[in-house]
């Protein structure tokens, strides 16, 4: 765990700060400033450029035939879970229809080969010859491929090929060769018989031709036998390689199962969608290729991610927390179709949908973090500027306030004026002065709940008399003003920076909290 630095190393805040500073310097219409602020990157936007590796991973994922059948929403969700930004995902979607990934072409070629070899078993052995040199080449290329689904298909294809070729070789040896031999013998015998009636000249030629044909057939057969033997040898070599690969995969799979077992041992609360539990497991079985380098800093969860992706499409979720017995009874009842008997028919529709909203009896109180905002920030100029800028967008009244805030010469006077309005709980003048010793941070302007107060701000001369009356009203009504002061004092005494006296601080606070709580509850 590292404490957040006040000046984060990333480039993101620097540009917006300069842009916001420029915007600050322009004393323009608040609306023009608003446009500038929206275009300048806020800190809540991802400013990284799209990463090419991630986009390529996504393209490969989207090109997978299994993925193509799934709804687009699930594809997007999967990529988002892998940490891709919107830009990267959009880029990948843009690329997928155009791309022609190798996987699909080799797969289709291999499928074609399988089909052709299966169909050609009974036909001329020459076709087997033709398929054989291609077969080992394709299978070796498959062996060299990186992605796993190619291995899976490659193993299948290689298996089919070897089986087909072995069958073809065996069939050829067992059936064709004896048939050929018997056919040759029959021809030779026939020729001998026929040759007696024919001229002697033709006999040797026919016999020679037959013999030559027989010889060529025999040599062809011998060649075929040799090539089939070579083929079988290469197949056995392939088998050996494949077996090695399979053993390695088995080792990996056993590691994964042991990890999964370890995770399943930990018992975890189930998700709360108990009313209708639907789980999407469509894409969970797909393996994400990261080639050993997940993200720049993303190694935190790389193991758990790989566990999840390699597991079969069964939930690897942490196991469900033991639910109360009556909960299981009620679930069982509902699954049987029974309705629990304690449910009443209640009409909870609004009796008067046009009921006017009530008048608030109390003004909104400042939040503890709004009171102490200036003190707790040391170098956090950007976010508070962003907050004031963000605020100016929706309220033109406050736009005037913003303009005034940015005139440093008038700062102290305006702040002291506002400081006289305790209903917004602004820090006292003394606090502001200590604040001004550091880089000046404008306190967040309060929300405009009372338009008369906003009008008062605009007219400084009249505000003093108005604020006095407001002060009287509120102080008499509110006990909790004291509470705010106590809170303020305790916060001023404490520190909100990293590390430090958290334990001692809590010791100081706990007794006073107890006193306050008990006095309030009494």
């Amino acid at each position: 765990m590292s404490s957040p630095s006040d000046d984060p190393p990333s480039k993101t805040p620097q540009n917006p700060v300069s842009q916001v500073a420029q915007a600050n310097d322009d004393r323009q219409d608040p609306k023009v400033e608003m446009e500038k602020e929206i275009s300048s990157a806020s800190v809540f936007v991802n400013a990284e450029p799209p990463r090419e590796e991630q986009v390529q991973n996504a393209v490969r994922f989207l090109s997978h035939p299994k993925v193509r059948g799934s709804p687009v929403v699930y594809r997007r969700s999967f990529l988002e879970r892998k940490g891709l930004t919107k830009e990267e995902i959009d880029e990948a979607f843009r690329r997928v229809p155009d791309s022609n990934p190798d996987a699909t072409t080799t797969l289709s070629a291999v499928d074609g080969q399988i089909k052709s070899s299966l169909n050609d078993q009974q036909q001329h052995p020459v076709q087997v010859l033709q398929s054989t040199p291609v077969g080992p080449a394709v299978s070796t290329s498959k062996v060299g491929a990186i992605s796993r689904f190619r291995w899976y298909h490659g193993i299948l294809a290689a298996g089919f090929l070897t089986v087909a070729q072995v069958i073809a070789a065996v069939v050829f040896k067992r059936l064709f060769v004896p048939k050929l031999k018997s056919w040759i013998r029959w021809i030779v015998l026939e020729e001998d018989v026929k040759g007696q009636t024919k001229k002697f000249d033709t006999k040797p030629s026919i016999a020679e031709e037959a013999a030559a044909a027989a010889k060529s057939a025999a040599t062809a057969a011998a060649d075929v036998a040799r090539t089939s033997q070579d083929m079988l040898m290469t197949n056995s070599e392939e088998k050996r390689c494949l077996e090695e690969l399979i053993s390695m995969l088995r080792v990996q799979a056993s590691e994964m199962t042991s990890l999964r077992g370890a995770i399943q041992k930990l018992e975890v609360g189930h998700s709360i969608t108990s009313r209708q539990s639907t789980e999407e497991h469509n894409i969970k079985g797909f393996s994400w290729t990261t080639s050993g380098q997940p993200y720049a800093n993303g190694k935190v969860d790389s193991d758990s991610r790989s566990v999840r992706s390699l597991s079969p499409p069964v939930s690897v979720e942490p196991s469900v927390a033991p639910h109360p017995k009556s909960y299981m009874e009620i679930m069982a009842m509902i699954q049987r179709g029974e309705k629990p008997s304690n449910i009443r028919e209640i009409n909870d529709a609004p009796p008067n949908p046009n009921q006017p909203l009530p008048n608030p009896h109390l003004a909104p109180k400042p939040k503890p973090w709004e009171i102490g905002q200036g003190q707790s920030r040391s170098a956090g100029t950007f976010p508070s500027q962003a907050s004031t800028n963000g605020f100016s967008i929706d309220d033109q009244l406050n736009g005037d306030n913003i303009v005034r805030w940015r005139q440093p010469n008038n700062t102290r006077t305006t702040e002291t004026e506002i400081g006289n309005e305790p209903n917004f709980g602004f820090p006292s003048v003394a606090t502001n002065e200590t604040l001004l010793k550091r880089s000046w941070v404008p306190p967040q302007p309060p929300s405009v709940v009372m338009p008369e107060a906003a009008a008062a701000i605009r007219q400084p001369k009249k505000s003093l008399s108005q604020t006095d009356t407001e002060t009287d009203d509120l102080k008499s009504a509110d006990i909790t003003d004291e509470l705010q002061k106590i809170t303020k004092i305790s916060e001023m005494g404490g520190s909100f920076e990293a590390n430090g006296s958290n334990s001692t601080h809590s010791n100081e606070i706990a007794p006073s909290t107890d006193e306050r709580a008990s006095s309030l509850m009494a």
Binding site: F44, E80, I343, L483
Partner: protein
């Protein structure tokens, strides 16, 4: 410490931002599976007493107090509607509004603390909707999540920024001025049930997940969490940053405990309360009283106690 027994199973508890001795509790019958619901408004004191209660046809999963009107409560109902209750009117005149647009259960609701005029609802129909109290229809719908949105939280300093936590394992940061989400945090490998912004550093956000952990993120460098808080035995149901101490947060879990953490400290766990006898599903820290905690659970009990004391002490 006072305890209150509700007739139904607790789902959410929230302190009033106006009155330090008022607390609202959302409850659902039959664990929220099927049945009625009830919103309780409780008065704290030497004992907790019920000020008023409102019955609903379906379970109440969450509620929030209005930041602009001290007597308004917005409740998220399991039938997908949002109901607004006015405590200044008798129960027979309530609710004053019923906003029904979500297609599925409403699971979270949060009121804007900066502008104080709008609120967000998170629903199992994968969307987040933006509403204002005076309008009968939603102002905007944010549809990007691929699964149930469990929680939505406004940024305490930026009036237009909010975060959502979803069952699609991502947390998203949105700006109401932008058409879609501005950041996607693939925060966990499992469903994210809750998120909350730090009150003192507007770029820090915590996410709580089914994977039993709470992760603290800085949105400026969101690839790596600032801290991973492990310790809960089951899914963490809710996480809430302290309104008074910058790095402190409270969480409640299906392991029946409420824990307090300080993510800046080496050993982050600074408090552990195991007073509940069933899932602890709701926790809140008072904005007006420092250190005051409230929790509710499926054991139908609501506890309110100051940090450092035993919630079950008489």
């Amino acid at each position: 410490m006072p305890v209150f027994k509700t007739p139904f199973n607790g789902y959410s508890v929230k302190f009033s931002p106006f009155y330090e001795n008022q607390v609202a509790v959302a409850t659902s019958q039959n664990f929220g599976i099927l049945g009625n619901g009830r919103v309780h408004v409780l008065q704290l004191g030497p004992a907790i007493t019920e000020r008023v209660a409102f019955d609903t046809a379906d379970g109440v999963y969450d509620l929030c107090w209005s930041e602009s009107h001290d007597s308004l409560i917005v409740a998220a109902i399991a039938d997908g509607s949002l109901k607004i209750y006015d405590l200044s009117l008798p129960p027979t005149a309530n609710p004053i509004r019923s906003l029904h647009e979500h297609g599925r259960e409403c699971h979270g609701v949060d009121f804007n603390t900066v502008r104080k005029d709008s609120f967000l609802s998170a629903s199992w129909d994968d969307t987040v909707k933006l509403w204002t109290v005076d309008r009968p229809t939603s102002v905007r719908t944010f549809k990007e999540h691929a699964y149930c949105v469990y929680s939505v939280v406004w940024n305490p300093r930026h009036a237009d920024v909010f975060a959502s936590a979803s069952g699609d394992c991502t947390a998203r940061i949105w700006d109401v001025r932008e058409p879609g989400s501005t950041m996607i945090l693939p925060a966990h490998e499992f469903e994210i049930l809750s998120c909350d912004w730090s009150k003192y550093d507007d770029c820090i956000i915590a996410t709580a997940s089914v994977d039993k952990s709470i992760k603290v993120w800085d949105v400026r460098n969101y690839r790596v969490p600032l801290a991973v808080l492990n310790g809960h035995g089951y899914a963490v149901r809710k996480v809430k940053f302290s309104p008074h101490r910058g790095s402190m947060m409270a969480s409640c879990s299906y392991d029946m405990t409420v824990r307090l953490w300080d993510y800046m400290v080496e050993d982050a766990l600074i408090g552990r309360y195991d007073h509940h006898t069933e899932f602890a599903v709701g926790v809140d820290m008072s904005v007006l009283v420092e250190g005051l905690l409230a929790s509710c659970g499926w054991d139908e009990l609501v506890y309110v106690w100051p940090h450092g004391t035993d919630p079950r002490a008489p």
